[in-house]
Symmetry: none
Subunit: 221 residues, 2 copies
DNA sequence: TGCCGCTCTACGGGAAACCGTAAGGAAAGG
DNA sequence: CCTTTCCTTACGGTTTCCCGTAGAGCGGCA
């Protein structure tokens, strides 16, 4: 089992429960932070002191407040942590249930476990920590399904750009100019139209308004 | 202070922390459920047994799973609870930060407190419970600001209808037919255009997509 | 009743978006 | 080096949307 655990989680309530769960597993040495920058600092200090953390439990999204942060969110924190302490085990504890995102975390960021904030997350978290301790990977059950079943449409970077521009009031015909100015290809008006058509077709939508509403509902933009 | 508290919250971790916070306030008799239907049942039972709950702490969104529920979410739960136990105090504990939504909860559902799941939510929750116990209303600080600032334009019923139709994929020119079918006046296409123009002008917007995005962001539709 | 002010509706010209088609261009493969 | 294929872009015709104007309906008031 782990000896020293760091929790990066901006919700106080969640942080309390995570701490409690860990202490129930017999891990005495836990620290927690509400900010990514603090988490980074603690990781570095611990390593320099010769007593590095061996598990990081982190959320993905951290809300901005008066304290300006260099590290914006969980992904960045994970990447930086791994870069100077590659053996650090990482458990992501987040409400996100997008299969593509979770996949990326496992492949690109080589995390060890993903626990989704949901109905039985306390049990899941315990199971995940035990699994990692045995050198296994862990993923909440519901996500395993959704990776297979909910083959939801993957919005590309340019799709998101287009949607953001539209919801910012940009006229469709003015989008090519913006794309060119920002060196984004493809930039033709037809390509913009094509992307919008594909998005709408996949979703079974007929109008841009509908698409924007959907993306807002699911936090895509 | 309260004697008997019911917690309706589908996230196990959050539920644990809420329970802990409440017990720290010296409230011994707390029960928790992961489902709205269960919450409703417990409220009814308690009242029939002559020992009703005097505080309900509930989330807004409950995830669906294998257990089919009659009550879909927090709003519905609150409405039903109040209908048969009007003196029940209600504290909403949710991650939503849409001012329009929170406003609606206070005015239409006459809740007593809204605590947003955020950085200092444990402190906020404690403060909220103490405020309610003294017969006060409570709202997290960050929301007070946004309610005041953003609550400029008053969306009429027909405005909301138009916006909902648009975001459901209805063509603008087909909206008059819908309005007539539902006996809503005015129903002319020009009137629809006029309402949209007014909304956009007030907000400083130029396109419908922008308007939809705004309304989704602030929970207006 | 006749005038006035108001809102809703109808119409038409122009702009933007939609949609199909075809030409241009780069990468992959023989 | 050429061909095939896929993707991007360009260009028209049609639909929808946008916007200004004008007329119709309705209540208030002298």
């Amino acid at each position: 089992m782990f000896r020293k655990v760091l929790i990066a989680e901006d919700h106080e309530m969640t942080s309390i429960s995570v701490t409690k769960t860990i202490s129930e597993l017999g891990i005495a040495d836990t620290q927690y932070t509400y900010y990514c920058d603090d988490a980074m600092m603690l990781l570095k200090k611990a390593q320099q002191a010769g007593a590095p953390f061996d598990l990081l439990i982190t959320d993905l999204s951290f809300e901005e407040d008066h304290r300006k942060q260099k590290i914006a969110g969980g992904e960045e924190l994970i990447a930086l942590s791994k870069s100077f302490q590659p053996n650090l085990k990482v458990l992501v504890f987040s409400a996100e249930n997008k299969s593509a995102l979770v996949d990326k975390l496992f492949t690109d960021f080589s995390i060890d476990a993903y626990v989704r904030k949901a109905r039985h997350d306390a049990k899941d978290l315990r199971a995940a920590i035990e699994a990692i301790a045995q050198g296994k990977k862990y993923m909440t059950a519901d996500l395993k399904q959704s990776v297979k079943v909910k083959n939801t449409f993957e919005f590309s970077s340019i799709d998101l750009t287009i949607l953001k521009l539209l919801s910012a009031g940009t006229k469709q015909k003015d989008i090519p100019a913006y794309l060119q100015a920002n060196k984004i290809t493809p930039s033709g008006l037809s390509s913009v139209e094509k992307r919008l058509n594909i998005m709408k077709e996949v979703m079974g939508f007929s109008k841009n308004e509908q698409l924007i509403a959907y993306c807002k509902d699911y936090g895509i933009i």
